[in-house]
Symmetry: C2
Subunit: 355 residues, 2 copies
């Protein structure tokens, strides 16, 4: 039995693996593999349609929102967004609260002026900046809702009249939010939505009116919308895995149901770690992520021992990112509470022995 | 029993489906699905490494060539190439010999001057232009080796000193060629290489020295090379399917072996069609594609009847593209000779009945 705490690509529901595996041999009883299936067929068009409408339903999106499944990952959106919405005269505001946000800022600067409204770089991005001002004269304000590497998460939506753009790659669909407050949401699929190689993009139609024109076709959101995410051959299988995962989420009760489970997992893990002084939690309680928990030990030898025990218990992906060290435990939607319990039991045993 | 003549996504070897299906439940006996597997792991890095080195081996590439697996399809390359290699002063020459080439030209014009050296638009792209001059002062000459929609294929490589760029999406790895004559080759995977959602890109290192700088990271080939196709989370599963297909191709004897089979399939189909005047072959013999055969009938009612019979025999994807009409039969590498025989038997029966 494996417990997959990978940061991404990461755990998906077991039934998604089973159905995806079956579809590679025989998709929808067609006698054909999903891998050899034409994308411009009613059967596959229905896959894209259903996936789009499940996103709308699960996120309770209003009629003004368009849902797209695009090639690439969030890194593609890092430049595609400013390419669409910035120029020499149109500036953007960015929050710098982690490795991914920093990358997004770097790409945006090639297309227009960028004002970094706040940064938590001073403490290795271990907290979410607060109390900053978002200028009113910007084309948009961009932030990362959850920082996979640093284990921080913004709880709540910034209060501003400026169009909001959020990279939700690592926490989309994990917590109930008023998603309609955003002008643009994007998320690489490989954490909470599906397999690597596809991006979920949600665009407000009014915001889209401000997009630059004369862009390469594949960079032009309007063309993707006009073609129903099939401007060219889409990542067929990756979209199908999204559909299976979205169906699973709906079946178990949607975002509010998964939020409860995610909160329970987070409570269990963080409260266990807080009990034992041999563990350090670098992120203050109010900024801790329910998706990626980061913790360290002061003794490198103990860290090594703990990692070995994790491996013996079948745990995968527990080692922290090289930029933070220690441990990182990702508990995306598909991670069962049982796996977190196996981990917290190990933490308890270990702490008792090495107190 | 299905016979899949889809133009793309299209048939892949049966053993590829079987292994891919297995890897979704348990990848390499790791107890994890390939869909939840970390891309920055030795196990997956070995997948990318092996896929790259199989491409080099099967195409007999020299040491100056870099192999990449990038997000997106050929349509992404349509703009990424001119973004890298054109500007107001650097012009390109393009051959306009089909729908895809026309799209590539449209995207290139946004980045620099484009000279269309020849076009077969006058006859609905039903032939490959010949006898054109490629100017010597261009950054590159771009053409499509095989035209999926129109059923034409360029047999041979244009003789020029100008850097050659080829879109080989629909015939890469199907015929022995001196691939080292090209400065840049690209191919959406979903025909001869693997699953939709990944691009094979081959770049000559000397040619790459002419690339523009200051590009978005994801558009910068040098950054992808420096990161071994893992600048961001790659389309993990799509790359794995490429590996399986490349392994299969090597096992059956490589490109020269598949070329013999492809020629046999083409000979069988075209010679059968030529026997019966109720079928029309719009493409002259010297330009016919071994990958996509296009044919029509003068009587729309007969066309409808023939299509119905094809369906009854389990044939998929035989209907022609709306821009050409009639029938299109794709016979990519993985298409067995037996399936073509089933089709030619049907053609013979049908023609005998309706002569």
């Amino acid at each position: 039995m494996k417990h997959n705490f990978n940061a991404g690509p990461s755990i998906l529901p077991k039934e998604v693996f089973e159905e995806a595996s079956k579809a590679i041999l025989d998709f929808n009883n067609t006698g054909l593999s999903i891998l050899e299936f034409g994308h411009r067929t009613p059967t596959f068009e229905a896959v894209v349609e259903e996936a789009m409408s499940l996103v709308k339903e699960l996120m309770q999106l209003d009629v003004n929102k368009e849902v797209l499944f695009l090639h690439g990952g969030a890194s593609t959106q890092f430049f595609q967004i400013p390419m669409n919405f910035l120029n020499k005269e149109k500036k953007a505001a960015y929050l710098d609260c982690g490795v991914w946000g920093t990358k997004a800022i770097k790409e945006a600067k090639q297309f227009g002026p960028v004002e970094v409204v706040a940064s938590s770089k001073d403490k290795n991005y271990s907290y979410i900046p607060k109390g900053y001002q978002i200028p009113s004269d910007v084309a948009y304000f961009h932030y990362t809702t959850n920082n996979t590497i640093e284990g921080t998460q913004m709880h709540g939506i910034p209060d501003t009249d400026v169009p909001l753009i959020a990279d939700m790659s690592s926490d989309v669909l994990s917590t109930v939010m008023d998603f309609n407050k955003f002008s643009f949401i994007y998320a690489g699929a490989q954490k909470n939505i599906g397999a690597a190689g596809v991006n979920l993009v949600i665009i407000d139609k009014d915001f889209l009116k401000h997009a630059n024109t004369g862009l390469p076709s594949m960079m032009d959101y309007s063309q993707h919308i006009a073609n129903g995410s099939m401007l060219n051959t889409p990542p067929v299988f990756a979209i199908y895995v999204c559909l299976l995962t979205l169906r699973w989420l709906k079946k178990i009760g949607g975002v509010s149901a998964i939020q409860q489970i995610n909160e329970e997992k987070g409570r269990l893990l963080y409260s266990t770690l807080e009990k034992y002084p041999i563990f350090t939690l670098p992120v203050p309680a109010e900024d801790r992520s329910l998706m990626n928990a980061v913790f360290t030990m002061s003794d490198p030898q103990l860290e090594e021992m703990f990692l070995t025990l994790c491996k013996q218990e079948g745990m995968v992906g527990v080692k922290g990112h090289r930029s933070v060290g220690g441990f990182r435990v990702s508990m995306y939607n598909a991670m069962p509470l049982e796996s977190v319990k196996v981990l917290t039991d190990l933490i308890t045993d270990f702490a008792d022995k090495h107190a």
